[in-house]
Amino acid sequence: MTTPSTPRAAVAPAKRTASVLLVGNPNVGKSTLFNALTKARQHVVNAPGTTVALAEGTWCTDCADVTLVDLPGTYSLIARSPDEQVAADAVSDPAHALAVVVLDATALSRSLYLLGQVARAGRPVVAALTMIDLAEARGIAPDATALSDALGIPVIEANGRNGRGLATLAEAVSTALVSPSFVAGVTRRDHEEILRDRLTDAQELFDWVESVGDAAVPASAPHSTVTDKLDRVLLNPWVGPAAFLAVVWGVFQLTTVVAAPLMDGVARAVSGPVADALSATLSVLRAPDWLDSFAVSGLLAGVGTVLSFVPLMAIMFAAVSALESTGYLARVAVVADRAMRTLGLDGRAMLPLIVGFGCNVPALSATAVLPHARQRLLTGLLVPLTSCTARLAVYLLLAHTFFPGSAGTVVFGMYVASVVLVIGWGLIARHTVLRDIRPEPLIIALPDYQWPHLRTLGVSVWTRVMSFTRKAGSVIVVAVMVLWVLQAIPVRGDHPIADVPVADSAYGAIAQGAAPALAPMGLNDWRIAASLVAGIAAKEVVIGALAQSYAIDDTNDQSTLGEQVRATVERTSDGAPAAAALALMVFVLSYLPCLATLAEQRRLFGWRWTAAAAGAQFAGAYGLAILVFQVGRLL
């Protein structure tokens, strides 16, 4: 197992504030606690040199302003993934004054083992005991006082959901920052020394865990719980996959059917009343026409694009957070494990990949369900190959025009092609640039089912939407403005700026220059090239751009547009229009993701990965489209 080394300081503490780490197993209420302690005073940062996102927030205790760092949930500091490595590195970094270790009352020995490892690193510790209500219901609740006595550190019962114990926890942390508390009975040991003989070291900690657990946990036979009953259904070999598909269908509906009117509403408000008000203001100020066009069709259109994505992203973030906090996501890892294993991915990768068929942008955000950074990267690079609904409009126009008798079959074929591309590119990536992804054995704890906590959900959705708006939004706005500039500048004829027929604009000139490159796929026409260039901004505008180039005013008049496109393609394809149309569909499926997708990829994985993946995808689509046309024309 290789784990890339990450820089030591996951997050450097700010001046005159103490940096405190929040450490715990996955699904122990750690993030709920984090949200309750920092409220909205938090933001998402990447651990330096990694794509591992950490939430960092300000927690005002009585004696100090604390920078609280929510580390990735881990079972162990002997890391098996980059995310776990970030947690391990942060714990061994003396820049952090204290660790608050979250102990799950329902799985105490697993939590105590992690606590033992933190103590091994020599970090002062305060323990927060969570899930106490669930443990009480099952008759296995540990005695916090006995635990505190056995461990020699403060153990505070804390509940992020109702705020109980948070003040006591703040007090304990304030005290520990002044006079540090260390775990009794665990010898400090160097991390390198531990790694040399990790099994023996672990055994020593297990023995210690047992001695502490015996002192604090009542002996009781566990009885069947609601969770066990639910699992009998949700993990059942037959019902489980059906239930999973139903959940995914629900998320899919949320991101398409429910989000669509909200997105339309925002877009209409921006292009309607807001644009009118802006135009009116500019005309009062006697601004020139080009400035009005720039402000409305450039700047405001860009802002409108970002804003229209906000409801969609909020819905997606809420759905992902809810699935996570109910405990169902851990079950998804089990149910879809075998299906995703061939790609070296966790079963949870199935969720973003399916959501991608609705819209790629929230699907990228849904990669957050994966606990391993490399798996998030691979899934995020594959998402643009899932055929979003915006591409469907293009398939429908072409399929009805060129294959009137079998349009349905052709469109279905495009979805099959999309799945084949995801698997094909996934296998290529795994055997080339992402060779370090190896299918890990599935060994995970299944937490108790719980209702999602609304306030925590709200805070987490807000933080993530803000991060999207700031980081991806700026890129989208700039790109839409660049597109406006290209369409506004005349390169031929005598036209005023911002009032240029498409053919005479810089945008038209680029399309005319690019069109010959489409000749090998039988599509050497500038109008088709122009629509593909516009499709980079958003796949929704491909049809509109075609209509604009053919100077058809009514974009809903698809039969006229279809006839025009058919006439063009019959000419460019040298008598094989069906093959060329199929090539165009295959090209549209995967040539380049839309701007919003690229911007979100950049936010999550950085420019290098985004550009390399887009380049590879474009080259692949180009080759495939040529192949489709050249083979198709022979048939």
């Binding site: 099994l199 297990f206 566990p222 993990l235 070999p237 494990d337 054995p441 599935l442 704890a445």
Partner: protein, 73 residues
């Protein structure tokens, strides 16, 4: 016998795990240590096994479950 052959509801003690030490360690960290008493809860879709160790529920994929030697309790 091997863990994947345990019938639902049957309890067993873990004897040994024969695979690379990283996976052995992770299983031990999750509570599947030699001598630990576990109970088979059932088989999930895709061949994974769900076992309880103490009060904790652990899911293990079928292939890994076939590397864990257990003795019926």
């Amino acid at each position: 016998m091997l863990l994947n052959a345990l019938a639902p509801g049957v309890a067993a003690h873990v004897r040994a795990v024969s695979t690379e030490s990283g996976v052995v360690l992770r299983l031990r960290e999750m509570g599947l240590r030699p001598g630990a008493l576990i109970r088979m809860t059932g088989r999930a879709s895709g061949g994974s096994r769900i076992v309880t160790v103490g009060a904790a529920r652990i899911a293990i994929d079928g292939a890994t479950a076939a590397l864990i030697d257990v003795e019926a309790a």
